[in-house]
């Protein structure tokens, strides 16, 4: 595909991209800025931009009032746990779909993806009742299950597109070489699909980390991750913008860092198979 662009077109396109980028980035930037202000400055009108008294007191107070690390630990456990459980199911599922397709494989994939279009609130009540009856409310195990099921269609879909690119011959060669199915997957398929698996895992960790609907509705304290940590600053004691900002900054920081370092991997993963 030839892509001819005039210098003018190129410049205006760049400017446009920058504006969009800044618009998207601005709220995060503003949040970080606010987290370093005092409560008074945080709500002052007109808002001060750089020239205010930088302070860390919000962070100190946030850590004192609630245990950030407990929430962060839950976030890590939920995100990593649901991703690992998901991987076991998604790899086997994608293997079957990519290498032993039937006439209805494409339909099954689309159907799996279509479940993502349903608003989660539609199944909130049944799931809440199940959780209550099975004693899963506010447990990490229960939440891992929900997050894993929620992201499974995306994992299967991503791994499927990756596996499709791997020549079946190589797996058949392993079969001829006497590899059993688990060995074929572990020693031959997975090592060849490392980039795909890495980006699938990354995306799912990010999605699970950011997930707020189920984590807020199904936890109270024991299993509550950082989303609940943020939420706890918005309601009970009125609005404290600066502390809320500090809490939010703490919550998004780890995932931002991971995302930043792995963006190449992610972009490749998300567009894999789309361009050849």
């Amino acid at each position: 595909m030839e892509n001819k662009q005039t210098p003018l077109g190129y410049v205006s396109f760049s400017v446009f991209a920058w504006i969009v980028g800044l618009l998207i980035f601005f709220p995060i930037f503003w949040m970080v800025l606010t987290s370093f202000k005092s409560e008074l400055e945080a709500i002052s009108i007109p808002p001060s931009f750089i020239s205010f008294d930088w302070t860390l007191e919000n962070y100190v107070e946030v850590q004192e009032r609630s245990n950030y690390f407990k929430f962060a630990m839950n976030s890590v456990i939920l995100a990593v746990g649901s991703t690992l459980v998901g991987l076991v199911f998604a790899v086997t599922c994608a293997w079957a779909m990519a290498f032993n397709p039937t006439k209805r494989t494409k339909d099954a994939l689309l159907w799996m993806l279509s479940t993502k279009m349903m608003p989660p609130v539609g199944v909130l009540v049944p799931i809440y009742l199940l959780f209550r009856d099975w004693g899963l409310l506010d447990t990490r195990f229960g939440l891992i299950m929900v997050l894993f099921l929620m992201n499974l269609p995306i994992m299967v879909w991503m791994l499927y597109t990756y596996f499709k690119e791997i020549p079946t011959d190589i797996l058949e060669a392993a079969r001829m070489d006497g590899a059993t199915l688990p060995k074929e997957i572990i020693f031959v398929l997975l090592p060849m699909a490392v980039p795909g698996i890495a980006s699938t895992m990354l995306l799912n960790i990010i999605l699970a980390w950011n997930e707020a609907f189920w984590t807020l509705n199904l936890t109270t304290s024991d299993a509550a991750p950082l989303t609940a940590f943020i939420a706890s600053y918005s309601s009970p004691e009125g609005l404290f913008w600066a502390k809320l900002s500090a809490a939010s900054t703490l919550a998004v920081a780890p995932i931002l860092v991971i995302g930043w370092f792995s963006q190449k991997q992610l972009v490749r993963g998300l567009t894999f198979g789309a361009v050849k």
Binding site: E172, R175, A179, T180
Partner: protein, 335 residues
Amino acid sequence: MGAIRLEKVKKTFGTLDVIPGVDLDINDGEFVVFVGPSGCGKSTLLRLIAGLEDVTDGKILINGTDVANEAPAKRGLSMVFQSYALYPHMTVYNNIAFGLKMAGESKDVIDEKVQSAAKILNLTDYLERRPGALSGGQRQRVAIGRAIVRNPAAFLFDEPLSNLDAALRVNMRLEITGLHQELKTTMIYVTHDQVEAMTMADKIVVLQAGRVEQVGKPMDLYSNPANKFVAGFIGSPKMNFLGGDIAAKHDCHEIGVRPEHLAVSTDGGEIAATVKIAEHLGAETYLHVEADGLGPMTVRATGEVDLGENDRIFLTPEQDRIHRFDQHGLTLSGA
């Protein structure tokens, strides 16, 4: 030991009848070549023997035991794929060793076998490389190395040379023939190149649309093709088929004459023709001619022949080399 016997082997893909029913005997130590046009089911038949496809019906006997429902690994066969199918993330050493590791061999045994295979195949200097850093011919050798270390009952090759350039192909052809002479293991080799079939095979199996058209030694197929299809498929350039008066004179529907069985003369002969294109190869000359009333024909003359476009010539078939066919394309016996 590797005698293979197919009994009424059938394969359908959905409603598509790819192999309607094949019976075949392959003796221990034989080099058997499956040939046939593209899409005739050669690969499918080979994959059925390998166990990579399930048979729809029929028996596959290896040394007398029916393995039709066994997993590929249980059949004790090795396969070399057209695409080489090397493990890209493993070194050459590990590629060759993989099957042995799966079989649970000890480190020492593995090392000994890999080293000796590498020596036979001239791969000793490349053992630590990845397949990506090898040439096509070297990759092919790794694929063969992976096959031989397992000491299989039989080797299966699916068009192993078709990704190589012409010169390398001739070399590898000789190497595989040499390997067969050395190992004396049964080999089944799929190709659509009839030169490979003629030069390598002890026995050729000609397939068309999933059916065995004829089985025989290369020269048998060349001299006594069972039908028009085999006659046209074996031999290069292709046999000339002539109908009309000249066929009637031989009391049949159609006759076949190989290009090398036509005598060329400028003075007189049975068939008058005009040269259209002359291909001079040095050792021989291919004349593509338009025969009066019979249409295009090909003639293969030995040595250099001083003929060119629009020259008038006369062709005379060698009488005892004429093949006669009935209206169904079956060979009629007696000349």
